[in-house]
């Protein structure tokens, strides 16, 4: 069957999927306390005051804000990021609104319904056993489940605001230790105005018995979300952490500039998985979330391990490089990524692996899938320091093109400073081969399902690294994101 004939061959599956579009585009009508738009030192002070923060944190914010003022929005990414009017955004939105007086533990039933609709039950009895959730809407953490059960083992899992109040010594020690506020433009902005996010502390020798998860939701109009996540895993500890995100469909672009910092001590292991499904904008590229995120892990101790797994299907613009600093000797870092772009989405994503310690190892597996008019880039840096003797890196970046109007790009940077390390990089770009499609068709699999099958097979290396619940969701997302792209 010719390509044109296949495209014309209407199929209910594709139409179904196409009509489904973005499932999470609803808004919640909840009384939300939003501060005035605009950004100034007063706003930074106001946010700090609303959260009742100690003076050292306000100082940290102000330093970051003053530094941010000296910086310019970067332009080096392979994305068309329009100039953002930072004065047109409100930097704090609290959906708990004025009901706070009735006690922080009581959640507005509207909010609970919202999270139920998203498949994130906040009621512990109904929740999937084995996953503790911190639900963040707009600028505040709405509820953290299973806190008490985790506390029995000494694990701290709470919103970062609570951590500031209850464990200031830990937050003070680690906040900004991996991502300095001077790191980049968006990191400086986040450090100045960050609102809420999760804090995790795993004590020495403790294996976290359940998956920890944060669910981010932007609801209020014209707000930006600036969450901050800090994970510290002490000697010999283990934690698997999941992150999910959605936003309502709006014609305006929304800004999401987060920072995730992870510190992994000796022999500890952290797995960080993300399914990013922010609103990607409509078919003409109107609206959508600008996802400009700094994520970095410090493998501080000997034998520490960190793995980033990400499935990126949403956002109008994604600009994100979850990175690892392999400082401890023998530390191991992994990065697995599937990035899907469709319609007018743009993604510039990848990783940085900075090898400082001896015998460190890193693996990068990146799969890009582009369709429609989208642009999908992998950008990665592998750096071997002069003392990183005997270190190894293997990177593999594959791109799949599903239309003749999209683009797939690979920009790897390799920097080697010693004579005992080995760095390997390979990349391929191709489309789904006619032979593969033909083979599936011969066996009675219609073209659209064949494409979904092949794409899922292509992304399997990465999807298999995801925890069970996420893998199912990610597979569903892949087929939704690729609606109408048979070719």
């Amino acid at each position: 069957m010719s390509r044109e004939a296949r495209v014309k061959n209407d199929n209910t599956f594709v139409r179904d999927v196409a009509n489904r579009d973005y499932e999470y585009g609803f808004t919640t009508d909840v009384e939300t306390e939003v501060i005035e738009r605009g950004l100034s030192e007063d706003v930074v002070r106001l946010i700090s005051q609303k959260k009742g923060e100690p003076s050292w944190l306000l100082d940290f914010r102000l330093k970051a804000f003053r530094h941010w003022q000296t910086m310019e929005q970067p332009t080096w990414g392979h994305v068309h990021l329009p100039a953002i009017d930072y004065q047109a955004i409100s930097y704090y939105a609290d959906p708990r609104g004025r009901k706070r007086k009735s006690g922080p533990q009581e959640i507005d039933p509207e909010l609970e319904k919202t999270f139920d609709k998203l498949g994130i039950p906040l009621n512990e009895r109904l929740a999937l056993s084995g996953v503790a959730v911190d639900a963040v809407m707009d600028s505040v953490s709405v509820k953290t489940t299973f806190k008490e059960r985790l506390a029995e083992k000494g694990i701290i899992f709470c919103s970062i605001s609570e951590a500031v109040a209850n464990h200031p010594e830990l937050v003070r020690e680690y906040l900004g230790s991996v991502v300095n506020y001077r790191d980049n433009f968006f990191a400086a902005l986040n450090s100045a105005v960050f609102s809420d996010g999760s804090f995790v502390y795993i004590p020495k020798g403790v294996r976290c018995p359940m998956e920890l998860s944060t669910y981010f939701r932007i609801n209020a109009i014209n707000t930006g979300q600036f969450e901050r996540t800090l994970i510290v895993c002490d000697e010999g500890g283990y934690v698997s952490y999941l992150e999910g995100c959605t936003a309502p469909m709006r014609d305006e672009n929304q800004l999401h500039a987060a920072i995730v910092e992870i510190v992994v001590h000796k022999d500890a292991e952290v797995k960080y998985s993300t399914v990013q499904n922010w609103y990607p904008g409509d078919r003409e590229g109107r609206g959508g979330v600008y996802n400009l995120v700094t994520k970095r892990g410090l493998l501080k101790g000997e034998g520490s391990r960190l793995s980033w797994t990400q499935v990126e299907t949403g956002s109008a613009i994604t600009w994100k490089y979850p990175s690892c600093i392999l400082q401890g000797d023998g530390s191991v870092a992994e990065f697995y990524s599937v990035a899907v772009t469709n319609n007018h989405q743009q993604a510039d994503t990848g990783t940085k692996m900075l090898h400082l310690g001896r015998n460190t190892r890193s693996t990068i597996v990146s799969k890009g899938i582009s369709a429609g008019h989208s642009q999908n880039s992998y950008r990665g840096l592998v750096k071997m320091g002069s003392k990183a003797h005997g270190s190894r890196n293997y990177s593999s970046c594959d791109s799949l093109l599903l239309s003749d109007t999209c683009g797939a790009h690979t920009f790897p940077y390799i920097d080697v400073n010693n004579d005992t390390s080995v760095v390997e990089h390979e990349a391929t770009t191709s489309k789904i081969s006619e032979e593969q499609l033909m083979y599936c068709n011969q066996r009675g699999i219609p073209p659209e399902e064949a494409v979904a099958l092949i794409v899922n097979g292509y992304a399997k290396d990465v999807l298999s690294k995801l925890p069970m619940e996420f893998a199912v969701e990610a597979q569903k997302l892949l087929s939704v994101s690729l609606e109408g792209t048979v070719g």
Binding site: D404, Y413, V416, N418, A427, T429
Partner: protein, 410 residues
């Protein structure tokens, strides 16, 4: 000049000049031979660059002027000679092909300062049997800046092989800016090999641009055996269908050499192929940089592109930067790239040691084998053998010891 004024010289903030500090290269106070003083220098007497067994016509460019005669060959279908002379004889042709390099400040600087250059024009259907060897000699008893220029015009169905050698006949530090422009018309075939065998005082800023039309074929190789700082910007544009290009490079560097190859291959037409292979062997505190971007535009369907960059760091202080890039806007393409940085295989060394080969000899053999991959792509057997010999000598006896030239003899 206006472009240069508007743009300025490239800095390390420019993505393509990230690894080479152009300002530092240009900083010393260089002399310019503005008065076109003829240099009392007979290249044939003092310098030999020979390739045994290769029938070639050898032509010299001393400093930045064509030596001996303004017109070396002009038999109607083949012109080799000075650009000034070519401008008088064939002004329309020169106008059509000269100075088509866009967006490069160093090329603009060369255009601004250049006084003469070399033109090689092969007319329609002419197949040049002999290798054309161009020997560029750096001379001068004071630090000099030479601005060299080459224009290569391959008309329809023409065939030629060019060997461009850079040598030095001075121990003074000097800098050459070099612009090579080439156009390959329909069905033409050009083999262009560039060999750099100078001294650590000789710095080179080269910009090479080739535009290929339908069914044309280009084999380009640059071999850097010895030099100071060497920077090559190579732009190849495939404008016609079925055009083929093979680009290779071999870099051997030691001490504090700095070798940077920056390659851009643009596929503008369908059914073209590009094959890129670059290998570096870095010793001492040398710095190697390689960036190779293959850009496939939307109309260039059925592109077949391969890019390989392999590097050996044989000393703890050598440093390698590599950046193999793909930028693809067409869906029916087959593109891949691979890049490695590593060391010699311990198992192979052990195997050879078992068979009585000393570790030093074993290392040498492995390094040679690694380098020869690139040389295997050179079609002209005598040239390939000569280069293999030179590479072996280079590994065995160190840089600048070819034993064959005035510098070694002196």
């Amino acid at each position: 000049m206006q472009f240069l004024e508007a743009r300025g010289l490239p800095t390390r903030k420019d993505e393509r000049y990230k690894y080479t500090d152009v300002a530092a290269v240009l900083e010393p106070d260089f002399g310019l031979n503005l008065g076109r003083l003829s240099l009392q220098f007979d290249p044939r007497q003092t310098y030999r660059c020979r390739v045994p067994g290769l029938g070639s016509s050898v032509h010299y460019v001393v400093g930045d002027s064509v030596a001996e005669s303004n017109v070396l060959i002009d038999d109607g279908s083949l012109f080799v000679g000075s650009m000034v002379e070519f401008a008088q004889r064939y002004p329309d042709i020169l106008r059509a092909y000269y100075n088509k390099v866009e967006g490069d400040s160093l090329a603009a600087l060369n255009t601004l300062l250049v006084q003469d250059g070399l033109v090689i024009r092969v007319a329609k259907g002419r197949k040049v049997a002999d290798l054309l060897q161009i020997v560029n000699l750096s001379v001068g008893s004071v630090p000099m800046l030479a601005n060299r220029r080459q224009l290569i015009i391959m008309e329809q169905g023409a065939e030629a092989s060019i060997l461009n050698c850079n040598h030095s006949a001075t121990r003074c530090s000097n800098l050459a800016t070099e612009v090579v422009e080439g156009v390959l018309a329909e069905g033409s075939h050009l083999q262009y090999y560039s060999v750099e065998e100078t001294t650590n005082n000789c710095n080179l800023l080269n910009t090479t641009q080739f535009v290929q039309h339908e069914s044309s074929k280009l084999d380009y190789a640059s071999i850097t055996l010895n030099s100071g700082l060497s920077r090559r910007t190579i732009n190849i544009t495939l404008d016609g269908t079925h055009a083929q290009t093979a680009v290779s490079g071999l870099v051997l560097a030691n001490d504090n050499r700095h070798i940077d190859n920056n390659l851009l291959v643009v596929h503008n037409a369908p059914l073209c192929s590009s094959d890129i292979l670059y290998k570096y062997v870095l010793d001492g505190s040398s710095i190697g940089a390689f960036a190779g971007k293959v850009l496939v535009n939307a109309q260039a369907q059925k592109t077949d592109s391969q890019e390989t960059n392999a590097n050996l760091c044989v000393s703890p202080t050598a440093r390698m930067f590599t950046q193999p890039m793909l930028e693809i806007y067409a869906d029916d393409v087959k593109c891949n790239h691979g890049s490695t940085v590593g060391q010699l295989d311990d198992t192979a060394l052990f195997y050879m040691a078992q068979r009585g080969i000393t570790p030093e000899e074993g290392r040498l053999l492995l390094q040679q084998a690694f380098a020869w991959d690139v040389l295997q792509r050179i079609d002209l057997l005598p040239l390939r053998q000569r280069l293999m010999h030179m590479v072996e000598e280079r590994f065995r006896r160190g840089a600048g010891a070819c034993g064959d030239c005035v510098m070694c003899a002196g």
